[in-house]
Amino acid sequence: MGRIRRILHVAANDLRIMVGDKIFFFWTLAFPILFIVIFGLLFKADANTPDVAEITVVNLDEGRWGAYFIGQIEAPGLAVTVTDKEPAEYNRLIVLPADFSARIEARRDQALAFKKRSGASASAAARVETRLMQAIARTISELVLYGEGDLAKFLDARPGFRDIVRVKSEFPANTVTVVPSGFDHTIPGTTIQFIMMMVLIYGGISVMEDRKKGVLARMLFSPLSTGELFRAKLLGRWGLGLLQAIMLFVVGKIFFGLKLGNVPLALLVIAVFALAMAALSVFIGSIVTKEDLIIGLSVLLANIFAALGGCWWPNEIVPPAVRAVARISPAYWAMDALHQLTFFQGGFADIVVQVGVLAALAAALAAVAGRAFRVRE
């Protein structure tokens, strides 16, 4: 048996044992899918459904300006509920006081109470707040247009307001043509996070157990050298990460319409990332002797890397300092590369830096893991 065949044989056997575990599909497929569904729905509800931007207007106004102002607020994508007393539950609420009309007609300034429920959607709140600002700007513009006349007569003969300046939005040329769904954002993040978690936990524990049970030492009775054994272990764990990514991408494509851009390049990114994680798992499995400790370390590292790398939330909302620190996370580079492919239809030239960083990290971790790799306790 040739050297490469021996390595492949051991790696495939490792992969077979890991896949044969009853709970394997729960961890690598079912649980990540649960994550994808929950976070995908959350992002979808938050970002892409304009009808969720609700505003309750408590109109206590004793004049006619309250109704006029509510008309200025109303817009497509905004659900306006008008009531005459403050409800027990609301997401966002604005109060038009009893003297709302009287103060406007007297040209006296006033501050309108605007209440936001802290747990409600932040983007819907921002949309409502912007619309309120626009309504105020429009009202004041009409008042300026009306001039010095009696404001009590304004509503009967108010000047028409024309939207002379309009805003049109689009995505950059040669990128996406439809608004990315919540799933387009959550599937790559969840995949990266669970590759880290599963490769580190499964890979680390199996290396540790094989060493403790003497399996590694016995394997040296075969024509395998220690170096070949290390490469086989590395390859087995790399295969695990790659297999998990392929399963999640296929499920994402079939059930959630995932758009990955250039699929071979996306797989290249995942492959290099999974190799780095495989090397880290062999390293952890080589230096740690307790299963619980490997699980704890893996969960800690995977969660920190995932959070920093933009797997949990969009990196755009992260403070610049944290974004700078995020570069220490392998997940950051993988996510950045996948974003280039998914959202910008990037090619190899667009991800060469990210793939280069991940490849260098994989090489460095493999070198460290190779030195730490032991076949006996």
Binding site: G147, R162, D163, I164
Partner: protein, 414 residues
């Protein structure tokens, strides 16, 4: 009783001799709380997001476009936007690599079209990889568009006068005829200033205690809200690890050796349960203590917090006593334990704020200890007695215990 206490002490000593696992599981929720808190804590009043990188392309280079560009340079806007003026080709190249949240393109002829009150369109190119910031830029530009439309209409006559002169050579301009136009404009500006200074209508975000609304949160509030969810998730992991002794003793043959001593099965079970309970309580107290010192986490009145912590630790110990009585071996325990804990944590609100969850998920959360502990901890923080959480956790914990003890006795004497 003495024998049970000895086992309990021995267990505690044994776990404290090799505390790495417990320490890691304590470190994880604290690290996650720190990270989430640092990222989402409000830094200054009204500024929760980092400055939004915006590219501005001025293809017009006229008076109105310059005014529009300079609106990004006002102090308040500088906090919100990090604006960079660039050429269109460069801007488009940068946007195609996702180097900014959005690009605003002011079209050629913008100023002249405004002077003639012709419709004009501002283009906002949005970064497709970002979910929130490009929309903020778009909405900001929509507000600017309303304001510009208002200004153009309010000063339509004066603007027409200026427009008529623009194409004339400087020498041919009828400067004297500008005076009445400027006079009219001055009157309008004076009239407008009545509405603008102070602003006739403005919004006041209230910190209200009204039902359905909560006050603006601070960094300390945020840490205080995140930590209980994280703490209860990892309490479950830690107690599961500690109570695995119930299985390993059986598998490693220690139980048979102990059966040769005068130790009764009930004493052994009691010691293991008490061990899980006390260690769980200690872990929660350490997390709360570190949280209070490092992140100024508020737990509320200490007595109430201790009561809630004792009850959730008891529930956890009783649950894993029953769990370890039902599973066949440690592989099965490892395979089933973590998924159960993670399911509790997802639906119970440890990973996602309950209020942000779909209704169906919220309903499932009611059967998780995480939900009751998180709700109870919120009440304790406000100095209120968490009656519902205590009753539910205590009663269900006692039921679990009542089921666990006979099952464990059977397994111990097998």
């Amino acid at each position: 009783m003495r024998r049970a206490a000895l086992i309990l002490l021995n267990d505690v000593r044994r776990h404290l001799k090799a505390p790495a696992v417990i320490l890691i599981f304590i470190a994880i929720p604290l690290a996650m709380t720190a990270l989430i808190g640092i990222i989402f804590a409000p830094k200054t009043e009204g500024s929760k997001l980092p400055p939004i990188p915006v590219l501005i392309v001025d293809n017009d280079k006229g008076l109105a476009s310059k005014l529009l560009v300079s609106s990004f340079d006002v102090d308040q806007m500088k906090e919100m936007f990090q604006a960079t003026v660039t050429e269109e080709a460069d801007g488009r190249a940068r946007m195609s690599k996702g180097k900014a949240s959005a690009m605003v393109v002011i079209p050629k002829g913008f100023t002249l079209d405004l002077l003639e009150a012709k419709p004009v369109t501002l283009l906002v190119v949005k970064n497709p990889a970002e979910q929130f910031l490009p929309d903020i830029v778009e909405e900001f530009m929509a507000t600017m568009a309303v304001m510009l439309s208002g200004v153009v209409q309010a000063f339509a006559e004066e603007v027409r006068g200026v427009r008529a002169m623009i194409d004339l050579p400087v020498g041919a301009m009828p400067w004297e005829s500008l005076a009445p136009e400027l006079g009219k404009a001055q009157k309008k500006i004076a009239a407008a200033s009545k509405y603008l200074d102070p602003l006739l209508l403005r919004l006041k975000e209230e910190e209200t205690q009204a039902a359905g609304a909560r006050p603006r949160i601070t960094a300390s509030h945020l840490f205080s809200e995140i930590l209980p969810g994280m703490a209860v998730m990892f309490l479950l992991f830690i107690v599961q690890t500690l109570m695995r002794d119930l299985l390993t003793d059986r598998e490693d043959g220690k139980l048979r050796r102990m059966a040769t001593t005068p130790l009764r099965p009930l004493e052994l079970i009691g010691a293991r349960l008490a061990g899980g309970w006390f260690m769980g309580l200690a872990v929660l107290l350490v997390m709360a203590g570190v949280g209070a010192l490092a992140f100024r986490v508020r737990v509320g009145p200490l007595g109430l917090y201790l009561l809630l912590a004792a009850v959730i630790s008891f529930w956890t110990a009783a649950f894993f006593a029953l769990f370890h009585a039902l599973v066949r071996n440690r592989n099965q325990a490892g395979a089933l334990g973590a998924p159960i804990i993670l399911a509790f944590s997802i639906f119970g609100g440890s990973m996602i704020n309950v209020e942000a969850m779909p209704k169906a998920f919220r309903a499932i959360g009611i059967v998780t200890p995480n939900r009751w502990y998180i709700d109870g901890a919120a009440l304790v923080r406000e100095g209120r007695f968490p009656a519902a959480s205590l009753v539910v956790l205590l009663v269900s914990g006692l039921v679990l215990l009542a089921l666990a003890v006979p099952a464990l006795r059977r397994r111990t004497t097998e």
